[in-house]
Amino acid sequence: MIKTFLSVDIAMMKIAKPPDQLCSLGLGSCVGVAVYDPVAKIGGLIHILLPSIKELGPGHSRTKFADSGISDLVDAIIKAGASKPRLKAKMAGGATMFSVSSNSPIATIGKRNVESCRETLACLGIELVAEDTGGNSGRTIYFDIETGSLRIKAVDKPEKII
């Protein structure tokens, strides 16, 4: 079968089945959260931009935010045939790219995104099995739904698989 990489851009989410893989290119402070059912082999990836829809109110696309986005992703995966108790999650991203002064909102956005993703997953009762977050480098991630592995590439660094 031909393997297709489906790209998940800023504030998007996608669901797929093997042999297709999901990827997000160039994550900085954004976080890529992969949720999958290892038995049914259904997986989804979301590219989160901001921590919470509650801070901004209605009129915004729900997939921009960790809280509303992950919850929508989980609903969609279950609708596609996954079983909620079997769902697992992995995530990567949340870096701080510019060493701006610490009171600037862009200095903390990565960290706040990661925290909100963790909280949301915990609230939904989904086990976060692995993560590669923080730091000062951008990441490109490839999520293999067949194996549940998340391959992480950063410039000038060896590839990592979680």
Binding site: D9, I10, A11, M12, L25, G26, L27, G28, S29, C30, L49, L50, L56, H60, S61, K64, A95, T96, M97, F98, S99, V100, S101, S104, P105, I106, I109, G110, N113, S137, G138, R139, T140, V155, D156
Partner: protein
């Protein structure tokens, strides 16, 4: 008279184009003085791009580039981000030092020595400063700029924090496209101006558009 939202958008775009024009002109003059060469500017354009498309428009989410960021505040607050291709940044280093960057095999900030990085920061300062002066002159608004911050990484990653800031008020980014050339060589790339919603209104109010 302005009577439809489409018209207002056109007039807003014209106003931003004018700022872009003046800014690019100032930047060309200042860069010519910095590099000691003739610098021309291309015809500047203002693009409105959906957030999900931003990285692609700027050159590709996983393509490595040199990014500069300046925080602005005062009557207008937000960010200026400038994206330069690695090759363009290398050329600027070469034009000033006469040599290629020290670690040409590296694709992170380690590609450049401290001195080379600081001269790239200076180009960020010059170009963003030119735009800030243009905006300020055109609108009469007071704008202060931070020191320039530099980052070498994938385009998607360097714009993501600023995309978050844009994402708080909307789903579109304003991208100022104005390229600077030395002979046929392109030496500077695209610029993103990220004013917050209040600042956008301040700019439009000051020039009588709203």
């Amino acid at each position: 008279m302005i009577d439809t939202s489409a018209n207002i958008d056109d007039i807003r775009k014209d106003a931003l184009n004018e700022i872009n024009n003046i800014g690019a002109g100032n930047a060309a003059t200042a860069m010519a003085a910095f590099l000691g060469r003739t610098i021309r500017q291309s015809v500047p354009k203002v693009l409105t791009v959906p957030l999900s498309d931003m990285a692609r428009v700027l050159g590709g989410a996983d393509k490595v580039a040199v990014a500069g960021l300046v925080e602005i505040n005062g009557d207008v607050s937000g960010y200026f981000v400038i994206i330069q291709e690695i090759g363009q940044a290398d050329r600027i280093v070469e034009m000033v030092t006469g040599e290629a960057p020290v670690n040409i095999e590296r694709m992170s900030i380690l590609r450049y020595s401290d001195f080379e990085a600081s001269l790239l920061s200076e180009t960020v300062n010059i170009i963003c400063g030119s735009y800030i002066t243009a905006t300020s002159t055109f609108t009469g608004l007071k704008i202060r700029a931070s020191i320039p911050y530099l980052c070498v990484d994938m385009i998607g990653s360097v714009i993501s924090a600023t995309a978050s800031e844009i994402g708080k008020t909307g789903d579109f980014a304003l991208i100022f496209e104005s390229e600077l050339y030395n002979d046929a060589e392109r030496i500077s790339g695209k610029l993103i101006l990220i004013p917050d919603q209040k600042s956008c209104n301040n700019i439009m109010l000051s020039i009588g558009v709203i």
